[in-house]
Subunit: 231 residues, 2 copies
């Protein structure tokens, strides 16, 4: 529901007078799709230097240059909210990455479990989806993308003092009722008994329920993040 | 994350010894996809008579008969939670109907607004999506599907005493913090000034915010329902 100006993510540094090259895809979007011209305003962010008003100073079919002029919003540090999830089928995974970005996830950690749909994830694809979602939802940062690791390795590496809400259906767990620094969601097939045992050994994991229904994994990720970001 | 038995929605009445015909699609699913045979257990619900243990008594390529034997869960009345939304592009609309069913919406009301992506909805398609989602998430009921009406007509017909949370971005509204009987979400292009004026004249509408980011319409619907069903 964005009625504002065009908002683009760029890789280069932003500051007063800084020139940022657009990607060829962005140049195509600006010219052919959105019919913008040299001189038109654009909003830029790079995840480091805040949000800047910029103008198009060069626009060709496959390249464009944007010059930043005014800081619109300083860079902010979002409250930590990591999403830890077992990779799903491609469409469901794409949906999770897009919605997690909209809902303020600051990090995305794929973890490998016995029932994961796949052991491979494409982090470049994750990043493209997150960039597009961040452009759309007016975030000034991007979630950090982490390479997939086995569940146990992830748990062993997580700082003990940071609570993580674990979506466990049919466990009699209580609803999410407090701030957590992360949300962990299992694969479609659920966690195995062994995985549940491993998880129980980590005191930072708080079992939570998302209601009486059995949610699909991607729904649990989206609903859980919606709840956690509301605190 | 459903590890249980096969669970099917049927149209016919359920009770001890009641025989329910499966659709040809369900028969194909039982035999060809899930490799079930006569005598195998199946769980049935019809939205009226609770959830029943049943067994396959006949199974052919394109038809099957299931006989109910034991009531597993009585029919329950869910707390009222209506989703009122402007129809979006087809994929986004399908996603909203599926996730709304998983998240416990009891009614789905498409409303027509100036910026709606389409003025037409296919309620049979809505119902198929909701049935599949209800089978999966272990609901014993289905959301009721309503024919699209203009926004103002919907508002004029809603009972005054039932609060409805209205997702209004950039309005300085407070987060959802109380029970509501409904959630209203605008189209991708947002509500017009006229529509906002009409909405403000209805005291049952509570403006709410879903956080600092600008959510896509379908994300607002899913996140808003996740929050409302958690109370």
């Amino acid at each position: 529901m964005n009625h504002g100006s065009i908002r683009l993510f760029v890789e280069s540094d932003l500051g007063e007078g800084a020139e940022a090259p657009a990607t060829s895809l962005q140049a195509h979007y600006l010219g052919a799709v959105m019919r913008r011209s040299v001189g038109d305003p654009i909003i830029l962010f790079n995840g480091r230097d805040g949000e800047w008003l910029a103008h198009i100073v060069e626009l060709r079919r496959d390249r464009a240059t944007l010059r930043a002029s005014t800081l619109l919003r300083p860079q902010t540090v979002e409250r930590e909210l990591a999403l830890i999830f077992a990779p799903l089928k491609r469409d469901a995974t794409d949906l999770v990455v897009q919605k997690a970005t909209e809902l303020g996830a600051t990090a995305i950690h794929p973890v490998l479990t016995a029932h994961s749909n796949t052991q491979r994830v494409n982090l470049d694809r994750f990043r493209s989806i997150a960039i597009e979602a961040a452009e759309q939802c007016e975030r000034v940062d991007l979630p950090t993308m982490h390479t997939p690791v086995p569940l146990q390795q992830f748990l062993d590496g997580w700082p003990v003092g940071k609570p993580v809400a674990a979506c466990l259906e049919r466990s009699g767990a209580a609803p999410i009722q407090a701030v957590a620094a992360g949300l962990i969601v299992g694969p479609e097939g659920g966690f195995t008994v062994t995985e549940l045992d491993v998880m129980r050994r980590h005191s930072f994991l708080i079992p939570v329920s998302l209601g009486p229904r059995i949610l699909r994994a991607e729904t649990a990720a989206i609903a859980g993040l919606a709840l956690l970001q509301s605190y």
